[in-house]
């Protein structure tokens, strides 16, 4: 299992946690929780090794439109970049409700 970590700048507080997805074929689990400070940190656990650059690309894209201070845990078993994007957006949306 590969563990990957990324950090992004954050500008605002987030008040609600969110959980979406399932660690199943083609899907992934995203656990999003408010964090202190001005950093958004992302922790990925994936059973598919060697795709760090792909993860970075998807996350870079997500964080161009997202500036919440959060801790995001991603549990993945081989989802596509499209699914990752979708679940991240869903998690963000749930936490803004």
């Amino acid at each position: 299992m590969e563990q990957i970590e990324f950090n992004y700048a954050a500008k605002r507080k987030v008040h609600k946690r969110a959980h979406v997805g399932v660690v199943g074929s083609g899907d992934l689990e995203v656990v999003l929780e408010p964090a202190e400070g001005d950093v958004a940190s992302v922790f990925i656990r994936t059973s598919v090794h060697g795709f760090r650059d792909t993860w970075k690309a998807v996350l870079d894209r997500f964080f161009t439109n997202y500036d919440g201070a959060v801790r995001i845990q991603i549990n993945d078993a081989g989802a596509t970049p499209g699914s990752v994007q979708l679940r991240l957006e869903q998690a963000a949306e749930v936490s803004e409700r």
């Binding site: 299992m1 959980h19 660690v23 199943g24 689990e29 059973s47 078993a77």
Partner: protein, 291 residues
């Protein structure tokens, strides 16, 4: 309301099968009364999966919720079929067993509390083998105690169905609710074909699979208590009815003489046509629910 698939109601139906475990569990409670226990934010995960490179899920594929069903206290435990085939690991197994034990303790304190277990599972999680198997044995022991006080309702809707050791948990339940898409059996078709050949069970024959393991067959042979459409309100309604019904006078698994005699009467020299089998084992009354 019709129970045929293709009419105006079909378009309006809300698929229960398309819901994940958490959504299914929530749907069974009286609105606004449920809360999740040991959810994903508590991070109680499998200690064994990361050791072998398998990504764990934050709730270990088991959702425990407490709340009210038809005004009565209830606990719902749902296995997530999409995570490791809904298989029983150390943590998911213990969540289910401990939840039933807590329900039992409440019953003993004078708070009638039913349990609904949503079984989409292939049985033991092989990555945790003996702890998964032990968990099933312990779950079965807890069902035996709880079901004396309050109904333990098993709901299997598909697509995974209920197989392996967990089919014994279904066998111990006070009531079994199934959809047509669901399947219930100890051994799946692939395993039987593997062990005893394609003549014994052609695992590519989908019609045969549902004719033997499917919800309609199980209901028609008195092994399930209700057959529901894949429609969330219908499913929730069936669960409410069984919660209200309470503990049955005799549990199916305790009707030993009845079933032993039925087995003795079977002509084992040939395979049976599943439809023919329905005539032999037409429903036996007490737990039956007609739609």
């Amino acid at each position: 309301m019709s129970n045929k698939g293709y009419n105006a109601n079909f378009i309006n139906r809300q698929s229960f099968i398309e819901l994940d475990a958490r959504e299914r569990a929530t749907a069974l409670f009286d609105a606004g009364t449920s809360r999740e226990l040991l959810g994903p934010f508590d991070r109680v995960e499998s200690p064994w999966l990361p050791m072998q490179g398998v990504t764990p899920q934050a709730d270990d594929g088991c959702v425990v919720m407490k709340g009210k069903i038809t005004g009565q206290a209830a606990v719902v435990v749902a296995l997530e079929g999409a995570f490791q085939g809904g298989s029983m690991g150390e943590v998911s197994g213990e969540k289910m067993t401990a939840a039933l034990d807590l329900a039992c303790a409440d019953n003993e304190k004078g708070i009638p509390t039913s349990a609904v277990i949503l079984l989409e599972t292939g049985g033991v999680r092989l990555q945790e083998a003996n702890l998964g198997l032990a968990a099933i044995a312990e779950l079965m022991a807890s069902i035996l105690v709880l079901r004396k006080h309050a109904p333990v309702i098993c709901l299997t809707a598909g697509t995974v169905g209920c197989f392996g050791g967990m089919s014994l948990a279904a066998g111990l339940a006070s009531y079994v609710v199934m959809t047509r898409e669901a399947r219930l059996g100890m051994n799946g078709p692939e395993v039987i074909e593997q062990e005893n050949g394609v003549e014994e069970f052609d695992s590519s024959d989908r019609a045969l699979i549902w004719a033997i393991h499917g919800g309609e067959q199980r209901y028609a042979t008195g092994l399930a208590d209700a057959l529901v459409d894949d429609d969330t309100p219908q499913v929730a309604d069936a669960i409410r009815r069984f919660v209200s019904k309470g503990v049955p006078p005799v549990h199916r698994s305790s009707q030993v003489a009845l079933y032993r005699n039925r087995i003795e009467e079977l002509d084992t020299s040939r395979q049976w046509d599943p439809k023919e089998f329905r005539a032999l084992w037409a429903t036996n009354g007490s737990n039956e629910e007609k739609r």
